[in-house]
């Protein structure tokens, strides 16, 4: 069975609640073994399962104004504050209109009572290979904004993740926002998640955004969840599609490449074989759907 749910959090730690981002960054710079609490829906479950997170201080970032807001950027994209709740984002009119599969993926996450607490920053920083908001963000070309006392930097979402639970974020940094570029004309997107029942953790998931130029693919981006130790951006396979004329044969060929490329593991969710077979099937499905959504027709 692995870890046991003790129902009691064994770890002991202090709780701090900074009133501002500056104060939070000071704490991170000055103290050791600080863990951030956002929605807590990953953190508390891990603690109850007895995980040793080496935490001496839990820092609650709820209510820090700089971490909220869904705002249009100068170039027509969207800046999403890291502490925004999933439920607020999936129902946000701009998110729905500009990045439909991000909203769709959120709608299929967990349950409303979890999504009322869970944040997008937490979904990224927890760095699970299943994280449902990550694939759509990678496909839309998102960056994450990281702040510390030393300054601010942005990292491409495709380069943020290293391995399960580990990202490029330093111990003194906070993820402050997810920044999405402006959506382009003739763009279509699709998202699919295979799970026992829809709101469950994904056995395998896939996202795709295609920019169309007539009957050819201008640009394609695909990402998958639960098939690698981190959310997987299919950069090379997607890039090979640029400039090609779309066809059923191209879709089949690409789906086969995805199948051959992924090296999933088997776990309590399902087997490696199932994940690999599904990768082929859902890659085909989302390429067709994203193309259709971009206004393209399949010969």
């Amino acid at each position: 069975m692995g870890a046991m749910n003790t129902k009691v959090i064994e770890a002991e730690y202090d709780y701090v609640k900074p009133a501002s981002l500056d104060e939070a960054l000071d704490i991170l710079a000055e103290k050791e073994n600080v863990k951030i609490y956002a929605g807590g829906t990953d953190l508390l479950v891990k603690l109850k399962m007895g995980a040793d997170l080496g935490m001496d201080i839990m820092m609650d970032i709820n209510g820090i104004e700089d971490l909220y807001g869904v705002d249009k950027t100068a170039d027509g994209g969207l800046r999403i504050g890291a502490a925004e709740k999933i439920w607020n984002l999936e129902t946000n009119a701009d998110v729905i209109a500009m990045y439909p599969i991000l909203s769709e993926a959120m709608h299929l996450m967990a349950s409303v009572s979890v999504r009322n607490m869970a944040t997008i920053g937490g979904n990224f920083c927890n760095a699970s290979p299943v994280a449902d908001t990550v694939g759509p963000c990678m496909c839309y070309g998102a960056c994450v904004e990281l702040k510390s006392k030393k300054g601010v930097r942005t990292v491409d979402a495709t380069e943020f993740f290293l391995k399960p639970g580990v990202t490029v974020m330093e111990a003194d940094e906070i993820l402050t926002a997810i920044i999405l570029p402006a959506p382009e004309e003739n763009t279509g997107a699709a998202f699919t998640k295979m799970a026992r029942v829809r709101p469950d953790i994904a056995k395998v998931s896939i996202s795709c955004v295609i920019k169309r130029d007539g009957d050819a693919i201008k640009d394609c981006r695909m990402a998958m969840g639960s098939v690698a130790p981190k959310p997987l951006f299919l950069g090379d396979i997607s890039a090979e599609l640029a400039g090609k004329k779309m066809s059923a044969a191209l879709i089949e060929e690409t789906a086969q490449k995805v199948h051959d490329f992924v090296k999933p593991i088997g776990d309590h969710g399902t087997t490696a074989e199932y994940r690999k077979e599904m990768a082929h099937l859902i890659a085909k499905e989302i390429l067709e759907k994203a193309w259709e959504n971009s206004g393209g027709e399949l010969a």
Binding site: E12, D14, V114
Partner: protein
């Protein structure tokens, strides 16, 4: 490092209270330690929903909510809602009328989630109701009658009867 006890001020079922808690206590633990036994404890890891409460009007799972983080916030439980809120009381009655209750263990969570649905969305749309309460598990009823009850009250709201 030995963690200090802390005091957290919040409003529970309309009443201002101060709970003395450990930094690691969940809202579920703090509520039950202070006699709110209508909030049930099931899986304790956010899966089953029997611990659902309204936090500032939104249905949340109190077992994965930190008590310390509730400073200044407002919590409503099944019992408090039933005693103070007309809509919630109506939903409790509808559960009885529709035969939605068997062993009853999941029901406080379902009532709170149902109230969350009626107040925040409210459409008499079975699919939307199902999505909203999908974080609540029931091992007895098969769900249909629970959805029936929430839908019944949503229809009454639509007709302006409540």
């Amino acid at each position: 490092m030995s963690a200090e006890k802390i005091k957290v001020n919040l409003k529970v079922n309309g009443e201002d209270v101060t709970y003395t808690i450990n930094p690691e206590d969940t809202l579920l633990k703090a509520l039950r330690a202070n006699y709110n036994y209508d909030v049930k404890c099931g899986c304790e890891i956010g899966e089953c929903g029997t611990c659902t409460v309204l936090l500032d009007g939104d249905a949340v799972k109190s077992c994965v909510t930190l008590a310390a983080a509730c400073e200044g916030h407002e919590v409503w439980t099944d019992k408090g809602l039933g005693e103070n809120d007309k809509l919630a009381a109506r939903l409790q009655d509808a559960f009885v009328e529709c035969g939605s209750v068997q062993c009853g263990f999941c029901i406080p969570g379902f009532i709170v989630a149902g109230v969350g649905y009626l107040k925040n969305i409210g459409n008499p749309d079975r699919k939307m109701i199902r999505n909203y309460v999908s974080g609540n598990l029931c091992r007895c009823t098969g769900y249909q009658k629970i959805i029936d009850a929430i839908e019944k009250v949503a229809l009454e709201m639509e007709r302006g009867e409540i």
